[in-house]
Symmetry: C2
Subunit: 294 residues, 2 copies
């Protein structure tokens, strides 16, 4: 029997599906990706995942220890059963682990993407040597993974870590989850862009629209960030506000879970200092942690 020194990782996103072959130290050997929405049927998408994975494995099958998949939704990780993917249609109650295992003839693990991101940070990333970790992702939504005592915490029905749905305003804006005033409804990409467009249309002065080529529909968090880096005070204000809201919800997380570390990832997190300064300031002002307060 040959040495098992390769693993396959699959990042199943609502926009892209990214696949990689890695060694046991986490070094990337080969990668590929394709557009999730190129396949309208679930079965077509599964076939493509199988095909790409097999092609990535190539002649290495005997060296592959296993295949790990992170998906954007609720998963019974023991059975590898996807309950639902929020932003990919037709993915209710899909036994993805069983399907891939049968198709590939290899051990397969499936879990929520934020959970496996947290595991990644614990094993290779910003949270090495920590036992109690919160990992949040700021993107279209606000995702979360919780590691307690070194293990992913899944909760009773695998919905633990739905950190984007902590309420910060009782009667705040409606959220896709059915709740109101969730942090996701304040700092999700769509919300931020919508708010910026609304305020610009009301006459706020900013270089954002110019940077977006004069089209409201071209405005993205990246464009807002560009404006902010150029000193645009309206754009900076948007990130300060987002940072303050993120700080408020993280204060709740800190007060309940008192973690060793909070790792912040995802697109919006690339925004840089103005956002992170506002997050830190708010947590410093509000959170209880006795060591934090000195």
């Amino acid at each position: 029997m040959s040495k098992k020194d390769r693993v396959i990782g699959i990042d199943f996103g609502a926009t892209f599906i990214k696949l990689a072959k890695l060694d046991l130290k986490g070094k990337m050997i080969e990668k590929r990706s394709f557009k999730t929405k190129a396949f309208t049927s679930r079965d077509g998408l599964i076939k493509e995942i199988l095909k790409e994975t097999q092609s990535l494995i190539g002649k290495d099958k005997s060296r592959v220890l296993g295949v790990g998949v992170g998906v954007p939704g609720q998963v019974d990780y023991k059975k590898g059963l996807i309950y639902n993917l929020t932003n990919v249609k037709g993915w209710k109650r899909v036994p993805l682990k069983a399907i891939l295992k049968k198709g590939l003839g290899l051990p397969v693990y499936v879990d929520n993407d934020a959970n496996v991101a947290a595991l990644g940070e614990a094993e290779w990333g910003a949270a090495v040597n920590c036992r109690n970790i919160i990992c949040i992702t700021l993107g279209s939504g606000v995702g979360g993974g919780i590691i307690i005592d070194g293990k992913v915490y899944h909760g009773r029905s695998y919905s633990a870590g739905e950190i984007g749905h902590i309420c910060i305003e009782r009667e705040g804006p409606s959220c896709n989850c059915g709740g109101r005033g969730c942090i996701e409804a304040f700092v999700g990409n769509t919300y931020i862009v919508r708010e910026v467009v609304k305020r610009l249309k009301k006459g706020k002065r900013s270089i954002i629209l110019k940077l977006a080529g004069g089209k409201y529909s071209n405005i993205t968090p990246k464009v807002i960030d560009e404006a902010s880096r150029k000193g645009d005070s309206f754009a900076k204000g948007i990130w300060k506000e987002a940072g303050s809201n993120i700080g408020i919800f993280l204060t709740s997380v800190i007060n309940i879970l008192n973690p060793e570390i909070i790792v912040i990832g995802g697109g919006v997190s690339k925004t840089g200092r103005v956002l992170f300064d506002a997050i830190r300031k708010t947590i410093d002002e509000r959170a209880i942690d006795i060591f934090l307060k000195g």
Copy 2:
């Protein structure tokens, strides 16, 4: 060596200190209590705790397995070191475990009161056979204990479970913890009573003041509850509002921790149906738990 079949439990409250001798099935054999504030100095209070505990142990010392103490504040449970008691003056950095162990010659355990309450519910109470438990206490403050995978979860600096300091309104009322809009600042006893007095003074119709003997200073949650049970619609409205706020904060707790069970205790929890109906309704409307939603 005689059989160890007795334990001593001490509930260190800001108002009363209650002590009990129990058998290993949790049956109470003897109990006593005294007023915490009868002792103005910390050392005087410690002496009284030692005296009462020794008197409670009596001739049973060789039968006592150990002494467990729950205190209202942050505790390093490993060292048995109290960092701070929020509502008892002069209790900063007190090595209570070492003091009692020396004075009694018995094993001693000290932890936060909400944490040991959660352990109690897990071992003898409403959460028997559950592994992931949230226990909240509704009183002057809103306390919380978290049990994950059968063990009390303490967090990095023993401040996990400060559930009363989840924010439900970004710019809500200031809270004693230094934050704003914490659930405790909406449904803590003092807040509820203050709000009722304010609204009555504004002319709201209710039998509350009559039940309180015509004195605003006699109004307590118990009196408000009495009015509510007699059909007073203003009083019922107060509990509905409290229940809705509790439901909103518990929705955040459920979305993050997805526990098997939430146990609600403490004085305000005796209020009964009108409060619990409002809590349930709000959680049903807002929380994500896929099994909860069916």
